[in-house]
């Protein structure tokens, strides 16, 4: 379609100017407090900088240092493990719960509220609560495992093997937001599709796999992107509950970044870590977007 240049009327021009006038405080804030620090951090990543004294240009030294830093690789490994576990589990469980909450049964509104409620509690409070749940001696999890199945539970966050799975389980606490999004989408699926499928003799599983899930793929796609980005930025749980331990088993990427920036006075190195994380997330997001044409179904084509 040929691009046509519309001549704006006087009123439209005035409105446009007022738009920029009113949005200008936000724009100034955005450029000074968001774009500015982002550009500054790029510069810092090429320097030796401790926040207090002026940065000294060091070229690629921070990035070269990362490649030789065992803790960088460990934090990347731990975060990837957590990300895979929490994103997949989060999508599967929240979709399953959304399907259950989509039934027309008595008290469904109450159940929806109950499932959403945990996600409104702040990160630190949740972490403290789960420290008790995971407590090897007095925690409810090990108590139930013993009382119901006579299984002696592991040390959970005190165990190198179990600490990341524990935090993956804990991540389910905040799936309420995802459930609401899935539920909204489920209610938007045209009922004619199910009626047509029933006429063709489709059973519940067939309807789920051939109608519901394909129709849900745009929302799954959205939650997958957000989940990947969010899970790579996990920090509070490790900071409050495990301090990255035992023996670096929960040394998440952002925790390591924080330590370098604010405990070891290595802001330049931390900036390099931040830019590497940005590039990883950019690449992963691009990859998911690239794959979306093969599995995400949009009604409009």
């Amino acid at each position: 379609m040929a691009r046509t240049k519309h001549k704006m009327g006087r009123q439209a021009k005035i409105e446009e100017r007022f738009f920029y006038l009113f949005i200008s405080p936000w724009l100034v804030g955005f450029f000074i407090f968001s774009i500015g620090p982002i550009i500054a951090s790029l510069f810092f990543s090429f320097s030796t900088y401790d926040v207090i004294t002026p940065p000294r240009w060091s070229g690629l030294a921070n990035y070269r240092g990362l490649l030789k830093d065992d803790l960088f690789w460990q934090s990347l490994k731990v975060t990837t493990y957590y990300s895979i576990g929490s994103v997949i589990l989060g999508i599967v469980v929240s979709l399953a719960i959304a399907l259950l909450l989509n039934r027309n049964i008595w008290g469904v509104a109450l159940f929806r509220t109950i499932f959403y409620l945990p996600s409104v509690i702040s990160g630190v409070a949740v972490s403290l609560l789960w420290m008790w749940i995971f407590n090897p001696d007095f925690g409810i999890l090990n108590y139930l495992l013993w009382e119901l199945f006579h299984i002696r539970g592991p040390a959970w966050i005190m165990s190198q093997k179990w600490v990341v799975p524990s935090l993956i389980i804990m991540s389910l606490w905040s799936i309420g937001g995802g459930i609401v999004i899935y539920l909204a989408r489920l209610q938007g699926i045209p009922t004619e599709l199910y009626e047509a499928a029933e006429i063709d003799g489709a059973g519940p599983v067939s309807k789920l796999t051939h109608i519901t899930i394909p129709m849900m793929t745009p929302v799954i796609f959205f939650n997958l992107i957000m989940g990947i980005i969010g899970s790579f930025q996990v920090f509070t749980q490790a900071y409050v509950m495990t301090s990255g331990g035992p023996h670096y088993a929960s040394l998440f990427y952002v925790l390591y970044l924080y330590r370098n920036a604010f405990k070891y006075f290595r802001m330049g190195y931390a900036s390099a870590l931040a830019w590497v994380l940005f590039l990883i997330l950019l690449a992963l997001t691009a990859l998911v977007f690239e794959s979306s044409s093969r599995w995400v179904y949009y009604e409009g084509g």
């Binding site: 200008s24 405080p25 100034v28 407590n135 001696d137 190198q160 070891y264 006075f265």
Partner: protein, 482 residues
């Protein structure tokens, strides 16, 4: 309806004006209270002396703490009642956000005038980066104050020949005791003598053994004899008679290496850590990390009634007050084979530091000096905390304020604390050594498998040492000190 017409130029002016106005409004300090009458508002500053008096405002930053914050408020209230012409503002920051906040404030040029007790308190790190004023020029002209300090407090904060902080208070180490549990088990209390040859590590373990009990006979321990709060390799090496840090590094305040290439230091490190690991897995008098975490979640260890002795610092008293049991204390055990080591001989000294960005160094010094050494200030501070004032003249006030909270007589307790201070040779490394912050996470993480019973001490130490030395080197490179 008439529509207002805005030209391009007017529009740009308005946009810029709105944005700058909003920015200034956001960044500007709070406006001063408006004058009562228009005349006064229009009048020039006719009384310069009074105006100058009103102008001096300083700030002190402190960590969030339920007992310290009211103490600071009371101190500032008392200060305000004096006619000093100096107003003090208290900035309270959560414990773990203290250092990031301080760094950001300093980088932004709005550092607090006085840095009080914060999070990890890396006082030397701040000094080496030029964040604080050297205070010896002030102290050198104040011989009364200088002579009043316990010498070890001044020595600890004199780094590279400069006094980088003004000592405020002292927390002493020791073994803190739930004497009620001793009484119930029929075990005698340990001696209180820091300078004698008794009360060795073996004695402490033996006592702990008598106090480790399965009270209900279900095969599980319900009461542990000992919880060793210390896990730092620095501490155990000192107990075993050696030191990871050289005297030169203590004097300069910059950590250049661990002295583990000296076989005596290496052996002391391994033996000291082994003793701690043995207390958990061989002697079985100490809770495992998982159980210790469970107990700590229930409250202060001694208060849980599941631990009879805690090997830590005097905050154990602070955390346990008001006590619901009889409370006592003993010196650090004498480490080393057959007690041939030391008692660690350290203190925790909390100081005040004055920012190099302060516009009012004299005012900051005056308030700091008052807080550290004035009888009125010490009388306000003592009831809030179980810490000894850093000045000797404050000790009688401290003892008077404590009011015999321990089963020990007041005289015995006074002697006990005085001796702990007398034998001490240093503060802890994280306060006084540049580079400790960079290696603390390394040795903590490397030793975790030992405390979990998954690695031998020697294995962990042999992995830990090169990593620590590398961490120290990285820090020196960062500071351009190599």
């Amino acid at each position: 309806m008439r529509t207002a017409k805005i030209g391009r130029r007017e529009f740009l002016r308005l946009s810029a004006g709105t944005a700058v106005g909003a920015l200034l409004a956001a960044c500007a300090p709070p406006a001063a209270a408006p004058p009562a009458g228009g005349k006064e508002a229009a009048a020039p500053t006719a009384k310069p002396k009074e105006a100058a008096k009103e102008a001096i405002k300083i700030s002190i930053m402190w960590r969030t703490n339920p007992t310290e914050n009211p103490m600071l408020e009371d101190l500032i209230k008392a200060w305000d009642q004096k006619d000093t012409g100096i107003k003090v503002e208290l900035i309270v920051v959560p414990w773990d956000e203290y250092e990031p906040k301080l760094m950001s404030m300093y980088a932004g040029g709005i550092s607090p005038d006085i840095m009080g007790t914060g999070g990890t308190n890396p006082h030397a790190e701040r000094a080496v980066r030029g964040m604080v004023l050297p205070l010896d020029p002030y102290l050198d002209t104040d011989s009364e104050l200088k002579n009043d300090f316990y010498p070890v407090t001044i020595k600890a904060y004199t780094l590279g020949g400069k006094l980088i902080a003004l000592p405020l208070c002292i927390c002493w180490p020791g073994v803190f005791i739930n004497a009620t549990l001793f009484e119930q088990a029929g075990v005698d209390l340990p001696p209180t003598d820091w300078k004698g040859a008794g009360w060795t590590w073996e004695d402490m373990i033996e006592t702990a053994r008598k106090l480790t009990l399965d009270k209900n006979g279900d095969g599980k321990v319900d009461q542990y004899g000992l919880n060793p709060g210390h896990s730092s390799p620095w501490y155990y090496t000192r107990l075993w008679g050696e030191d990871l840090v050289s005297q030169d590094d203590y004097a300069s305040g910059i950590l250049h290496k661990w002295q583990t290439d000296d076989p005596n230091v290496y052996d002391a490190l391994v033996a000291g850590l082994q003793a701690r690991a043995d207390a958990i897995y061989k002697d079985e008098v100490t809770p495992t990390p998982a159980t210790a975490q469970s107990l700590s979640q229930m409250g202060p260890m001694l208060k849980t009634g599941a631990v009879a002795m805690e090997f830590t610092g005097a905050w154990a008293i602070w955390g346990n007050l008001p006590e619901q049991f009889k409370f006592s204390e003993a010196p650090n055990p004498l480490g080393g084979a057959d007690g041939h080591g030391t008692r660690g001989n350290n203190l925790w000294i909390d100081p005040l530091q004055i920012s190099s960005q302060t516009k009012h160094p004299e005012a900051a010094w005056k308030f700091s000096r008052w807080m550290v050494a004035d009888t009125e200030a010490i009388k306000i501070e003592v009831p809030y905390r179980s810490v000894v004032p850093a000045v000797r003249s404050g000790f009688p006030i401290f003892m008077e304020g404590r009011g015999g909270r321990l089963v020990l007589s007041k005289d015995t307790e006074a002697k006990f604390i005085q001796e702990a201070i007398e034998v001490a040779t240093s503060d802890v490394p994280c306060h006084i050594l540049v580079g400790w912050a960079a290696i603390r996470d390394i040795f903590r993480s490397e030793l975790e498998p030992v405390w979990l019973g998954q690695k031998t001490v020697k294995e962990a130490v042999d992995t830990m040492i090169p990593l620590v030395q590398e961490g120290i080197q990285k820090n020196l490179n960062q500071l351009g000190l190599t």
